[in-house]
């Protein structure tokens, strides 16, 4: 007699997230309660300094410094690195919860070793887990709906992020990804300065960029630098962006593939680690 049944294919991550929030009693209660979700699913949370566990670091030195969170399905434990900041730890918990509840994930992870699970499948599972984690943090469409009632500006996710106990970076990504209007965000990373470099003018490179659907349809899906590094003064053309909490307005020029350029209004903001350039469409007329 068959003891197998099909994994439901038509369940979308946003439906699963909404039901989990509801069943755990944290739907429409902000910020989303990690403990409610863990308790509902019968999962325990533990904290480890993976880099200081003598048995583990000796046996797995490579991974011990890179781990952020772990799900042990058979022990029903979500373990986070004790040295992570509160928001990263929170994200790690939601990410592991996602693996636990998404169809096929547990089965695929059971098979997960270097030989049986392709890197493509591994990456897909990680993307899906991140996507569902975002659904839990931002309570499905609630953040998007709420933010649409405020002006199109990076000030909006900046103001709303604490309410959802989210980092500014995750909030601005979500804000742009789901926005119905023309907007994008380009995230720059500071590059490590060389000994003989000019410390006054820091160097940056584009880390990644995100665009809203309407923006992508009209202009471009992402940007990249022409050179490996760019000077802050060349990119931003303004002073004062390095002050945390300070939004600086400037223009952004992007080369078109077949000549000419787009010019957009933009807002610059830094969280101390990265610089975010929030791009506001439509393009400015020459």
């Amino acid at each position: 007699m068959a003891n197998l049944k099909p994994v439901p294919e038509d369940l979308s991550p946003d439906e699963i997230a909404e039901v989990l929030l509801d069943e755990a009693g944290t739907l429409d209660v902000l910020p989303t309660s990690e403990s409610n979700l863990l308790e509902y699913l019968g999962l325990k949370q533990m904290s480890f300094d993976f880099g200081a566990e003598p048995d583990f670091i000796g046996a797995a030195p490579e991974i011990s410094s890179k781990l952020r969170a772990v799900l042990s399905v058979n022990h029903r434990v979500v373990a986070t690195h004790s040295k992570l900041g509160a928001k990263r730890s929170r994200w790690g918990v939601f990410h592991e919860i996602a693996h636990f509840i998404l169809p096929e994930h547990v089965e695929k992870l059971f098979l997960d070793d270097d030989k049986t699970l392709s890197v493509w499948t591994h990456n897909r599972l990680e993307r899906e887990a991140n996507s569902l984690a975002a659904e839990l943090v931002f309570q499905g469409n609630r953040f998007t709906q709420e933010s649409a009632d405020f002006p199109l500006s990076c000030q909006t996710p900046l103001n709303l992020a604490p309410k959802y106990d989210a980092s500014f970076e995750s909030a601005v990504r979500r804000y742009v990804e789901r926005h119905d209007l023309l907007c994008a965000v380009i995230v720059y990373e500071k590059c490590r300065a060389l000994a003989d470099e000019d410390f006054e003018d820091e160097k940056y490179k584009v880390h990644y960029s995100v665009t809203s659907d309407p923006f992508r349809r009209l202009y471009f899906a992402g940007v990249q630098s022409n050179s490996e590094f760019s000077r802050g003064s060349d990119i931003f053309q303004v002073h004062g962006v390095s002050q945390i909490g300070n939004i600086v307005r400037t223009e952004l020029q992007v080369e078109k593939q077949n000549g000419g350029q787009w010019v957009f209004d933009s807002e610059l903001f830094t969280n101390g680690y990265k610089v975010f350039q929030f791009v506001i469409g439509p393009e400015k007329q020459a």
Partner: protein, 123 residues
């Protein structure tokens, strides 16, 4: 179906935000409706349909969905799935997911499972 009050409230708020600094008169002219009609939309008294809705969308460059809150989907299959997953027993071989900057090997996962198992045993 959403309550009519919520629909008109949502629509009015969105419309007001899109208008920005422009006057109601200017936007009403652009859409092709009397200013009083336009004002009633912003004041959350009514929601346009058909060609008027389309003209509003065309004028602001948005899709109709922008003005309407999402309708809650039927979630029974998802609820059933979640409840099954919650009560499921996982007396299986070690199954580990890692969230890390690089992919863990099967040996590293086994060590992690042992580490967690030891802590669970102690608690």
């Amino acid at each position: 179906m959403l309550p009519a009050v919520r629909m008109t409230e949502h629509f009015g708020k969105r419309l007001r935000r899109l208008r920005g600094e422009r006057s109601q008169k200017e936007v009403a002219a652009g859409i092709g409706v009397p200013t009083t009609t336009y004002a009633s939309l912003e004041q959350q008294e009514t929601v346009p349909r058909g060609p008027v809705l389309q003209r509003v969308c065309d004028y602001f460059g948005v899709v109709p969905d922008y003005f309407f809150p999402p309708v809650k989907k039927e979630t029974s299959p998802a609820r059933e799935w979640l409840r099954e997953q919650r009560s499921r027993s996982f007396d299986v071989a070690p199954t580990i997911a890692t969230y890390s900057l690089s992919q863990a090997s099967s040996e590293e996962k086994e060590k992690l499972d042992n580490l967690i198992g030891t802590r669970v045993g102690k608690s």
